[in-house]
Subunit: 144 residues, 2 copies
Amino acid sequence: MDKEIIYDIRQFNRFYTKVLGLFNNQILDTDYSLTEARILFEISERTECIANILVQELNIDRSYMSRILRKLEKEELIEKKSSTIDSRKNLLLLTKKGEELLEKINIQSDQQIIQLFSGLTDSEINVIRNSMMVIKEKFHKNRF
Amino acid sequence: MDKEIIYDIRQFNRFYTKVLGLFNNQILDTDYSLTEARILFEISERTECIANILVQELNIDRSYMSRILRKLEKEELIEKKSSTIDSRKNLLLLTKKGEELLEKINIQSDQQIIQLFSGLTDSEINVIRNSMMVIKEKFHKNRF
DNA sequence: GTTAAAAGTGGACAAAGTCAACTAAAGGAG
DNA sequence: CTCCTTTAGTTGACTTTGTCCACTTTTAAC
């Protein structure tokens, strides 16, 4: 693999680390961390979400996840329902309050995207979007 | 801006957060954190690097930066030379040892990229690279 | 010359993440 | 059914990472 290509990819990674850094710092507007937001998101996206899936999906230590979930439960953003078929597992569900928070975060995140892209034409935005889709698909095809 | 486009972009961001997470965890193979690696990298890339530039560039708290730099100095990876024209500033330089470490990290990072892309054809890799360049350029054109 | 801004440091602390040991339930293999 | 292993989750003790604020020193700006 060509030295120059590797260089470009690493440059992109550094660059996008910075982009994501900016995005993520703004989630702190809500008193919740990026990790917590992602957990809420994942719970809402899944039917039958259990902690261990989140551990794998988000690459977070089990013990740490346990504590985060306990905190979210205490703040009444989620509920744990012990599974009837496998009592080791806890089904994770958003409460009304959790859904509302997630909705708030979603709106904020959408706004952020809009703001970031203001100044670009529709066609430019579409080019970016298509590039993102290409990257994602190619990576997926490979291993992710 | 179209709801669907925003959705795709946010999906990409989540996806790429995961990709970068994997990359970054592997830097820990060297006993140094991603942040430290990036600082070494930035110092090496710049002539006349001073702490405050790093603070802005990497979005790190000044006091935290101060401590990291002290640590790196203590481990003889960098040197601080008080600037003769402005004695508030310290010029940051890599030592031989620092250069060697950075080189090691670079080799490792290149290897990581190669590994990640093994399984893709040259043409697919090039498509990804070009997509990355497009994203970066468009963003830059805008504000970054 | 006085005031303001820039660069950096240090203390105290909070948040984030890690590691290892543990309980309890479920899934086999014989 | 019983022994063994795996899976899910928890807890304690800890380290690392990051933040806030007050402070010093030096330069810049009026």
